[in-house]
């Protein structure tokens, strides 16, 4: 703030406690915040996996078979299971954030949060069903 003058000569330094690196472990709210931030790693992980998948598709049927085989290893299953939990966490927190970031008012009253978030969930279901249908149908 501009009201805070720079410390004069011989003025004691402003007291500011250094925050521990593990400040987020103490409280559920803080932990939730960090978990939400870390969900971005799961997002990036799956994009990288998709890039490898595209590369395998490009390199031919054999390369793609190798790619799918690699995904069956227990390590990959475990990593993807963890990533899936994080991505779901991202989706839910993201959708629930929308009504906070953009409060909708109708007739002077604030629309309840779940009604603002509901279209997001509806869109999510519709898109997921469509993608699932496209990948599962046997042409």
């Amino acid at each position: 703030m501009s009201t805070q003058a720079a410390p004069a000569e011989f003025h004691p330094r402003w007291f500011r406690k250094r925050v521990s690196t593990w400040w987020w472990l103490g409280e559920w709210h803080y932990l939730k915040f960090i978990l939400r931030e870390l969900s971005s790693i799961a997002v990036a992980w799956f994009v990288v996996l998709t890039l490898f998948q595209l590369r395998a598709l490009l390199h031919g049927a054999e390369a793609y078979a190798r790619f799918t085989l690699r995904l069956q290893s227990p390590l990959m299953i475990a990593l993807n299971a963890i990533a899936f939990c994080f991505v779901l966490f991202h989706t839910i927190t993201w959708f629930n954030l929308a009504p906070r970031a953009m409060p909708v008012r109708m007739g002077g009253k604030r629309v309840p949060e779940f009604l603002v978030a509901a279209p997001n969930y509806a869109l999510w279901v519709v898109v997921s069903v469509f993608v699932g249908w496209l990948l599962l149908r046997t042409p």
Binding site: V47, T68, Q72, A83, L123, W124
Partner: protein, 120 residues
């Protein structure tokens, strides 16, 4: 801190990419990750064939879809991960390195996605 003295920054643009990527990641990644990462490898559902996936990936709409699918969530990651490292580790002297790593990574992934989709 004198806020008025700040020079104009690109923060708004980065934030826009972050939130657009957040929407794309929230809506699209769960189903893709569930199918390709869990359901297909574990045999819960039948794998789509190589030929079918290739024909899908070669359609222009799917190329656009896959490009957005890769690019925007990477910028979402870059923004979030950057601030996690800033706040979490409190290593101010490394902030520029972190910035370059995050957005450089996102840019690299975007270029790779464009390249792969172009050639597929």
């Amino acid at each position: 801190m004198e806020y008025a003295a700040h020079k104009p920054s690109n923060e708004a643009g980065f934030w826009l990419l972050f939130s657009a990527g957040g929407v794309v990641a929230a809506v699209l990644i769960p189903i893709h990750l569930f199918l390709f990462g869990l359901a297909f490898p574990l045999g819960w559902l039948p794998q789509p064939s190589y030929e079918y996936l290739l024909s899908l990936a070669r359609s222009p709409i799917a190329k656009l879809y896959l490009f957005v699918f890769c690019a925007l969530p990477l910028f979402h990651w870059a923004h979030r991960f950057r601030f996690t490292l800033y706040d979490g580790l409190q290593v101010k002297h490394l902030n520029e390195v972190i910035f370059t790593f995050c957005y450089g990574g996102a840019l690299l992934g975007t270029v790779l996605a464009a390249h792969l989709l172009w050639k597929i």
